[in-house]
Point group: C6
Chain length 68, copies 6
């Protein structure tokens, strides 16, 4: 199984946001900006839940930035 590389600062930082249930903004390659909480991450996707409890599986390749 492709492991999530928890040695990477970026992976650890996102893990911290997940544990702290921190509100973030994620900008996507289409220009969309989604606001909400990251529920989990794996090597290919991030799962974000927005204010309306909708879940989005975001392809890592489509994430431009995560703003905290």
């Amino acid at each position: 199984m492709a492991e999530l590389d928890t040695g990477l600062p970026s992976v650890r930082q996102v893990q911290t946001y997940i544990q702290e249930k921190k509100g973030v903004e994620v900008k996507l390659t289409t220009g969309d900006v989604l606001a909400g909480q990251i529920l989990w991450q794996d090597p290919s996707y991030l799962c974000l839940m927005n204010g309306q409890q909708e879940r989005f599986f975001l392809s890592r390749g489509a994430v431009v930035y995560i703003k905290a």
Copy 2:
């Protein structure tokens, strides 16, 4: 054969949607949003069938997010 990594949360989650025949929305890098059911997934493509029974083989690289 490139195996689908069923250890990944994202792969398992999509597998659940397939089994539950759950309606999803898929946003693509072109800005298109396709609604329908995911029929199958492999490491390179997702197969989605829309309300008109049309089948779309979506390149994983062109998927921005899957919304459930």
Copy 3:
């Protein structure tokens, strides 16, 4: 030689379209939609012939979806 992974459902499905000479639509990252028959596939490109007998070598990375 990078082999085409005929174990993958997506590769087998495209192979079936090639053998059946099935008409497909291919949406590209530029928003173009090309209609025609897929003549062959390899790990990097698909070859599509349109109604005017013009041949297009489509980079797999530029394919958003194949609609049958």
Copy 4:
């Protein structure tokens, strides 16, 4: 050295165009279409010369299609 995979139909086809000095159109991810002759190819780039003898090193990742 990353070898060009001459076992692939797409690599052989481009090689044929190079030898035949065949006129092609190349569509790029920016929507640009360049017309000219492919002078050489390697795993990362194609070199195309247009009608004004200008040389373009095209990133393979930016090529949407090659039309012959």
Copy 5:
């Protein structure tokens, strides 16, 4: 752990900017330009802090250029 390849000029150059707390502009694939300081880098992301102390985790794949 995927190591940051400190043998590469680009990695060393960014490391220098981090140590010098140098102001940079980063252009993203969406056309956004972010100005600020790079706080850290790993193989997948750059962390940039702008003038309002906001932190952006920039996917390396979404970075078009870094201007110093």
Copy 6:
């Protein structure tokens, strides 16, 4: 360290431009065109200096073409 593959024609060609301090145009995925001299290259980035002595670290993935 990820080596620059000097066996590739494209790498050697860029190396020649660097040594000759040749003026080039680089088109980026955002549609920007930067003119200047390539100062160095590594497997991930090209460093270009424009007429105003500004340095741009260009992600190879964001380069559409280099025109000489």
